[in-house]
Amino acid sequence: MGEITLVEAITQALAFELQADQRVVVFGEDVGVNGGVFRATEGLQDRFGSARVLDTPLAETMIAGIAIGMAAQGLRPVAEFQFMGFIYPALDHILSHAGRYRNRTRGRLSCPIVYRAPYGGGIHAPEHHSESTEALFAHIPGLRLVVPSSPARAYGLLLAAIRNPDPVVFLEPKRIYRAARQEVPDSGDALPLDRAFVLREGTDVTLISWGASLKETLQAAEQLAEEGIEAEVIDPATLKPLDIHTVIDSLEKTHRCVVIHEAARFCGLGAEVVAQINEYAFDLLHAPVQRVTGYDTVMPYFQLEDEYLPGAPRILAAVRKALDYANGGAV
């Protein structure tokens, strides 16, 4: 098999698990005959039949709700929401039931569900098609929240999510669905759901980002390298539970940190990262942790989306601020 894109890695993981586990069912709007609007389920209905890869009527609350009943009966439902902007009717079920079923029944019933949704901006889509509201899900107890950023991680993390005994919200950065190709062996090997990935090693500053923003983050790191500044780049990938240890290990070397995400700043996950660094690694810091985020505005229509999204120049400016603070600061 040649190199594949992130979205093809999603398909490959779904196919592997449909083949391996009779309990797995895949459903959502247009996921069957049409293979999904982004083709994430391309060919799966042909291969596994319409009893296991199902087109649903157009109703997101229903998609979220039936997954709970299926899971309570021991199936492994993988539900697709067409865009994150349309997931909000499903929140009631994800928050009020999926995240609570195991606890509410004291372990009698559980919800091994994967709720998938393409997310994030940058593809010049209509309103409601460019959301990145992952913080809403990170706040819900009982869930796991995963955002892959490469074909290999998409494959391994999705397999882990499907096999996980608890509900996982799996957000796929659609801007990089086809941005890069990578060899991804169809080994069936899952990746851990509680471990951050160090994408680039460095000693001068730690850059933390996830999803599509990693593209600009890595670009910024390359540019810094030309100036002799070595940035370490961390992709938490699993945003909940968050692997803060990898971040702390990095801060032992760099003492400076910038968190980058597309989502709005206020109560964005950057705030949680900063808070945990304060709690566990305050003494390591030589400068306040900087945040580069989407603005606290509504996600704009696409003509202005590039202004909204954090690009390399804003990341570089934040890095310089972190570095300059040390130069002229108290340390």
Partner: protein, 363 residues
């Protein structure tokens, strides 16, 4: 003015079913299952549900229980639904069907534990596959549709015997999208799902007449393309017959259906409510004349298989069982504080260990 000519494409009707009128007189020949033994068992279970509810309200009033939703007046619905299901079927309840829970083998202590603020009550000892009580309105109907999908899937793909999911909700639940989405999908996918609407005439303070322009709630199923009917929800024989028929239809693969059981909420919405603020006194008085226990007792007495002595003996036995359950509920020690983490995930992620240890007083 010119009136355009149009073709009639479809027409519908809604039937209503009743066997016992409010005086306990039969309005038609009873179904085969309605033997004296079965009717006594129904009566007994309805009487128990009433006692369980009554004691729950009293315990709430004296600080021994949290907020409680009584099913006073609607006992025939719960018992009829529960009796219509096979043990291996799956019940997906709302929060107001004491009779159905008892029929399913949920214990009185478990019911009291739930409303006494203890999740362990939802860990049903007997009805292991039944869903927990659902407090958000109508959400359980979608879970029921998912259960029904799984049961059909396991039958068709894995060769298991066909089982049926039964879900209940109140009249208020039929205003929610979840209700429509559940019955629409059930029809579309021909799921083995039975939806029973307990039309007790009140969504807290909003009367049935102000909830919808529909003449019946049963007709809402027409929009989903699934069969439905209305039954006298105070007639346990009618409820058992209609729901039993729906369950058997689903079991033989003929798809979902809906039953609207018309009754009346003879109590407050919950113990936190005061229905006298909105419920007309006269309507309540009239509703008491139609309540389900008295009419069945009248029938049983008129047909010579029930009398005062049986009634006294039954009440004594039920009260004994109730007292035992109340005592067990009171004697149950509080759950360990760490239980709030123990079942959050199958394995608690390391990221939450610090909070867990804090709760245990370890740091």
């Amino acid at each position: 003015m010119h009136k355009p000519r149009m073709q009639l494409l479809a027409s519908f009707d809604i039937a209503s079913l009743e066997y016992l009128d409010e005086r306990g007189h039969t309005t038609q020949a009873l179904p085969d299952f309605a033997t004296p033994d079965t009717l006594v068992a129904f009566y007994r279970q309805m009487a128990l549900a009433r006692l369980v509810d009554d004691r729950a309200v009293k315990m709430q009033r004296t600080g021994q229980l949290g907020t409680y939703p009584s099913s006073l007046g609607q006992e025939a619905i719960g018992v009829g639904v529960g009796a219509a299901m096979a043990k291996e079927d799956v019940y997906c309840p709302n929060y107001r069907e004491t009779g159905a829970l008892l029929e399913r083998g949920v214990t009185i202590q478990e019911i009291y534990a739930i409303w006494g603020g203890d999740e362990r009550g939802q860990n049903f000892r007997h009805a292991r596959e039944d869903l927990p009580l659902s407090v958000p309105i109508a959400t359980q109907m979608l879970h029921g549709a998912g259960v029904a999908f799984a049961l059909k899937y396991k039958h068709e793909q894995l060769g298991e015997p066909m089982r049926v999911a039964v879900t209940t909700g109140g009249d208020g639940s039929t205003s929610r999208g979840d209700f429509y989405e559940a019955i629409n999908l059930a029809g579309d996918w021909q799921l083995p799902l039975v939806v029973v609407i307990n039309n007790n005439q009140w969504a807290i303070s909003l009367p049935r007449s102000e909830q919808t322009a529909c003449k019946t709630l049963a007709q809402k199923a027409i929009a989903a393309g699934i069969p439905s009917l209305q039954v006298d929800g105070n007639d346990v024989i009618a409820v058992r017959e209609a729901v039993g028929d729906a369950v058997e239809r689903a079991r033989r693969g003929a798809g979902p259906s809906m039953v609207e059981a018309v009754s009346y909420r003879l109590c407050d919405h919950t113990t936190a409510d005061d229905a006298s603020r909105y419920q007309p006194e006269q309507a309540l008085k009239e509703a008491w004349s139609r309540e389900p226990l008295r009419r069945l007792r009248s029938y049983m007495q008129a047909h010579g298989f029930w009398g005062d002595s049986q009634e006294e003996e039954m009440q004594r036995e039920l009260n004994q069982a109730l007292e035992k359950a109340v005592q067990e509920y009171r004697d149950t020690p509080r759950d360990a504080a760490t239980a709030i983490f123990d079942h959050l995930y199958e394995t608690l992620p390391e990221a939450f260990l610090e909070q867990y240890q804090q709760l245990r007083g370890e740091n």
